[in-house]
């Protein structure tokens, strides 16, 4: 089947990957990638903004045909949707107020308040590894940062790049720092972020895989990456 | 002999087990003013309401200008009219004036009068207004044409109701105790209008407790008792020389 028109679901509250501007438009790394891929496929693309915890149901419900929202490829998700190959891979990390101790043991984390975005890989990771911690689930990462600033949380866990941009680079961000190592255990975090697609649409997966290779090859990817990051967000091939 | 404007033949009506009308015959020719008398509960209102099918008769025929209102039997409700269209058409030829006026309270006096001509008979609005104003003039309420029913006295409301009835140029006007909801001081103004109508030669069926009206204005009086016509005739005959014991008793208590 030809894909002349593709509707792409994006989040809009996860800088620098996607972010809603004051005028209501959406910008960010994911958005630029989406547009580059569409240009490569010569398809007409529409971006549809959707809150994170409804984003997979919305794809299944055919609100859009693909999700480009820094979604990690995990086994759990693969039960529901198909993924393209990864288009980026950024480890998750904890962030806390400067000087707060951190140990990745269950005993240490007991009773600690950890904020995550609902339905993310981080959500699962903490639920599985630190069941005795007080896990607080938010609709968006921004809300979790607000509560971290307000001292309602001890830690927030999110994509390291998202934390860097959405929290550390903002006013007052100098009070916070990453704690603990980069986390990228495939058991929870999968194999990088891919584009999620309904399982039936295998042809679209193939076409997008080709397109990803194409923009990697022709340098478009690097241009976009450099706009937002000073490091390689793709990781190993 | 001419076709009677209204004829009722062997009309029966029951509510559940309660037989209210047990075979009523009645003929009204053009220009007849028929008064219907009877004790409370004798079925006067029911008779009138059967004529324009506000109640469905259990059996019997009703003919308006010789046209039979066709009925068919129905599982749930006994008999029902065969064609709603016919019933609606006939109803619009029979204007009813209610005891409690029933003016439409959301419409002004003028709007009440033009409502049926415009929306049922399809008279152009302008024309209807001209006529309605003349009718209101006639019942002495032209000045109140923009009032709402709630702002009028009972007698005024009933006069508007009469104008509303006249506006459809009915074959027969049906009056159900048009003055009994009025304070005694207001009865006169309504009766005066009705006397005028009678003089004009309107065909009227009037349920009333006003003996003076029945005697002086109508040319025929019917006395209902236990669902049957117990006595009928010209008023000058039956009031002076009643043949039924019941009727004698009735007029003696009312006077």
């Amino acid at each position: 089947k030809e894909w002349k028109e593709i509707r792409i679901g994006v989040e809009g509250a996860y800088p620098p990957f996607s972010k809603t501007e004051e005028d209501g438009s959406i910008t960010g790394f994911d958005i630029d990638i989406a547009n580059a891929l569409c240009a490569e496929l010569e398809a007409k693309c529409t971006l549809v903004k959707q809150d994170w915890d409804g984003i997979i149901p919305a794809l299944l419900g055919r609100k859009f045909d693909a999700i480009i929202a820094t979604m990690d490829i995990t086994e759990e998700r693969q039960k529901k949707v198909a993924f393209t190959k990864k288009y980026q891979h950024i480890p998750a990390r904890f962030v806390a107020i400067k000087g707060v101790a951190y140990e990745a043991t269950e005993a240490f984390m007991e009773g600690k308040k950890i904020g995550v975005q609902r339905a993310t890989t981080m959500d699962l990771y903490i639920s599985d590894n630190f069941p005795s911690a007080k896990i607080k689930r938010y609709g968006s990462a921004d809300e979790a940062y607000l509560d971290l600033k307000a001292d309602r949380l001890d830690y927030v866990m999110a994509d390291s790049a998202a934390i860097a941009d959405g929290l550390l680079a903002k006013d007052g961000g100098d009070k916070f720092e990453f704690v603990g190592p980069k986390l990228n255990d495939p058991k929870w975090f999968g194999y990088g972020a891919g584009i999620a697609i309904r399982k039936q649409d295998k042809d679209l997966v193939e076409q997008l895989n080709k397109a990803i290779d194409a923009i990697r090859a022709d340098g478009t990817y690097k241009t976009i990456q450099d706009k937002y990051f000073t490091f390689d967000v793709y990781g190993q091939e | 002999m001419t076709v009677p404007t209204l004829s009722i033949r062997n009309l029966h009506k029951s509510f559940a087990d309660n037989q209210v009308l047990k075979g009523i015959d009645l003929e009204a020719h053009k220009g007849d003013v028929i008064s219907i008398l009877g004790a409370s509960g004798s079925g006067k209102s029911t008779l009138l309401r059967c004529v324009n099918l506000l109640e469905t008769p259990t059996s019997g025929d009703i003919l308006v200008n010789g046209e039979l209102i066709k009925m068919k039997s129905d599982k749930k409700r006994g008999a029902i009219p065969e064609s709603n269209k016919q019933v609606e058409r006939i109803r619009s030829r029979l204007a009813m004036v209610f005891q409690s006026f029933n003016l439409w309270s959301h419409l002004s006096v003028l709007e009440n009068v033009i409502e049926a001509p415009v929306h049922v008979l399809g008279v152009p609005k302008k024309e209807a207004i001209v006529k309605a104003e003349a009718l209101l003039q006639r019942v002495g309420l032209y000045e109140r044409k923009d009032y709402y029913p709630g702002q009028l006295s009972g007698g005024q409301q009933q006069r508007v109701a009469i104008a509303r009835a006249l506006a459809v140029e009915p074959e027969v006007m049906l009056f159900d105790e048009p003055t009994s909801a009025l304070d005694p001081e207001l009865v006169g103004e309504v009766l005066a209008v009705m006397r005028d109508l009678a003089k004009e030669g309107r065909t009227m069926l009037v349920v009333t407790h006003e003996m003076a009206f029945a005697r002086d204005v109508s040319n025929k009086v019917l006395f209902l008792h236990q669902g049957l016509v117990e006595e009928q005739g010209k008023p000058e005959d039956i009031f002076t020389n009643p043949s039924s014991e019941r009727f004698k008793q009735f007029i003696s208590t009312v006077y």
Partner: protein, 246 residues
């Protein structure tokens, strides 16, 4: 002019969107409410039970749950259905004509936008409350008024639209007004299903400016303004349409 860290323009848009959602749901809920009220008062047992089920379920389940159910669940249900039907059609046809090309006989997706889902859900919910209001209003219309309409030969549609409806609205107005005020505030929930109304914008804005109090207070004040305007208008309407008496 007030300034909200650059957000004032889309804030105003959000305020306008809130009002749109509220007004459109109002229209829908009035229509649904009327239908349900008429169904409840009808002689048909089927209609009566459907309407009763409808009003009962709505009374039992929170608005937010219904909204999430319709927005996520409803979408899934409708589109799955239409997709499966499409597949089935195609397969059957391919069975007969092997070289048949895949075609979408039904729309491949029906997009329930949050805008639409919000309006539908709120309209649906308040339809149930409106039904009660209208039922009461219909019952309080004087029987004689309708009887007069019948006696003058109006058919049942004319009876409804020319007499019943204008008269019942007068009785329904206070209840309608109350429902409107509640409905207006319920629109805030559409932000949870992702519509860019002013609550959602306030949320986004407080995320990036770290000034949640300022933004949410402005939202509250705008709602208070809407409420105040509505109350005034309602008072005026009630006076205007109250039964005219001396």
């Amino acid at each position: 002019m007030f300034s909200l860290y650059g957000y004032q323009d889309i804030f105003l848009e959000g305020a306008w969107l809130t009002l749109q959602v509220a007004l459109l749901s109002l229209v829908l809920s009035v229509a649904l409410g009327l239908l349900a009220a008429l169904a409840k008062l009808s002689h048909s047992t089927i209609l009566t039970s459907i309407a009763t089920l409808y009003t009962t379920i709505i009374r039992g389940i929170p608005d937010l749950i219904l909204m999430l159910l319709i927005f996520f669940g409803g979408q899934l249900l409708i589109n799955d259905m239409s997709y499966n039907l499409n597949e089935w059609l195609n397969e059957t046809i391919t069975g007969y004509y092997p070289n048949h090309e895949w075609t979408a006989y039904l729309p491949e997706y029906i997009d329930i936008s949050p805008y639409f889902a919000g309006i539908v859900t709120i309209g649906f919910i308040f339809g149930a409350y409106m039904a009660e209001t209208f039922r009461g209003a219909i019952l309080s219309v004087d029987k004689g008024q309708l009887e007069a309409a019948t006696a003058y030969g109006m058919n049942k549609y004319k009876r409804f639209f020319r007499v019943m409806f204008p008269q019942m609205m007068r009785h329904a107005l206070p209840g309608l007004g109350n429902n409107w005020l509640v409905l207006l505030k319920t629109t805030a929930l559409v932000s949870i299903i992702g519509l860019q109304d002013m609550v959602k914008i306030a949320g986004d804005a407080s995320g990036s400016t770290q000034k949640p109090f300022t933004f949410y207070l402005v939202v509250a004040l705008i709602f208070l303004f809407y409420t105040a305007v509505s109350t005034t208008a309602l008072k005026w309407a009630e006076r205007k349409y109250s039964i005219q008496t001396r």
